[in-house]
């Protein structure tokens, strides 16, 4: 059986999949034959991409628990109706907030917590339920190079992102008995809308501090996530994988 045919009947839910790394991943997985469940807060963007990729539109705000519950019920209905299994869950949704320490506001810190951590836990509760008794199921979470290396102006963001490694380590232990693998990736500076606020000078500085002498692309990260979801990574769990081109901040 070819790789394409092997993926028929397998769905991967990707939050934040209408732009950046999530979009690149959705396109990659769709090309491999996965059914992708497309999520963002924009219904129109989700529906347009789901139509293009022949996937499932699942618009909801990951920080809204009522929307999250309803959306997983709708996803469960669609998967059951079409005899599709939830094989993968990738949490790409989330914003980046750069500010020096004195300018960090409690509200913005709380927003980062809701987007990256609380949502990850609540989404994991649902996703793991739908993955029980599914062979070779896997989840992938997004951390960042700043979680380990730190970065000026990113005290809040790096603090939140460092929590992802704790989530991955503990969740991997909890769901291993069900055969579900859990891993994370730590992207370096990737050329996505998240970094459009950076000055040209800062971008050049980053490139000069990267061994491979370029910014990362969304596709660079998507290919690693695809590997972590695949059978090729069937003995990999509880790991954080850096995808940073050798960047030293």
């Amino acid at each position: 059986m070819g790789e394409h045919a092997q993926k028929l009947g397998a769905c991967v839910l990707i939050t934040g999949s209408t732009s950046g790394i999530g979009l690149a991943l959705a396109e990659l997985l769709s090309g491999l034959g996965y059914v992708v469940a497309i999520n963002s807060r924009s219904s129109s963007a989700c529906e347009a991409l789901a139509k293009k990729l022949n996937g499932i539109a699942l618009p909801f705000d990951v920080t809204d628990s009522a929307q999250l519950d309803l959306s997983f019920r709708l996803l469960h209905q669609q998967l059951t109706k079409n005899s599709i299994e939830l094989k993968g869950f990738v949490h790409c949704a989330g914003s980046m907030n750069s500010a020096p320490l004195h300018a960090i506001k409690a509200d913005s810190l709380n927003t980062l917590y809701l987007e990256h951590i609380e949502s990850a836990v609540m989404l994991s509760k649902w996703a793991s339920r739908l993955m029980i008794n599914v062979a070779d199921a896997a989840m992938v979470f997004m951390s960042s190079i700043v979680a380990k290396q730190g970065s000026e102006g990113q005290v809040a963001y790096s603090t939140i992102k460092s929590a992802v490694s704790g989530l991955v380590a503990s969740l991997a232990k909890e769901v291993a008995p069900y055969g579900i693998r859990v891993n994370g990736v730590e992207p370096g500076v990737i050329d996505t809308p998240l970094i459009h606020e950076l000055s040209e000078e800062r971008r050049l500085d980053i490139v000069n501090n990267t061994l491979l002498q370029r910014l990362g692309s969304p596709e660079d990260v998507a290919s690693v996530i695809q590997f972590l979801l695949s059978e090729q990574a069937k003995f990999v769990t509880g790991q954080m994988i850096a995808v940073d081109g050798g960047l030293k901040l």
């Binding site: 469960h76 059951t80 029980i132 008794n133 069900y178």
Partner: protein, 79 residues
């Protein structure tokens, strides 16, 4: 297969126990086979068998065979 048989079958296969053990008084964590790991397998098994999706709160509340029946009754399953 009637609903009681379906329920017993789901408990039997999910917890890997004899059908005779599946009585109303059987409670969570009173036998080694019904631990926290097996509990989620049981939930998935019941959901698949009866075509329902439990509320998150119901998963915690489902602490006996009797309560499992009551929760399924909320979804229109009769025993």
């Amino acid at each position: 297969m009637n609903n009681t048989h379906k329920l017993v079958s789901a408990f039997e296969s999910s917890l890997n126990i004899e059908a005779g053990l599946v009585v109303d008084s059987l409670e969570y964590n009173t036998i080694p086979q019904w631990d926290s790991v097996a509990h989620m397998v049981l939930i998935a098994g019941l959901e698949k068998e009866f075509g329902v999706l439990f509320d998150m709160d119901d998963i915690i509340e489902m602490s006996s065979v009797k309560i499992a029946k009551e929760l399924l009754t909320k979804h229109g399953i009769e025993f």
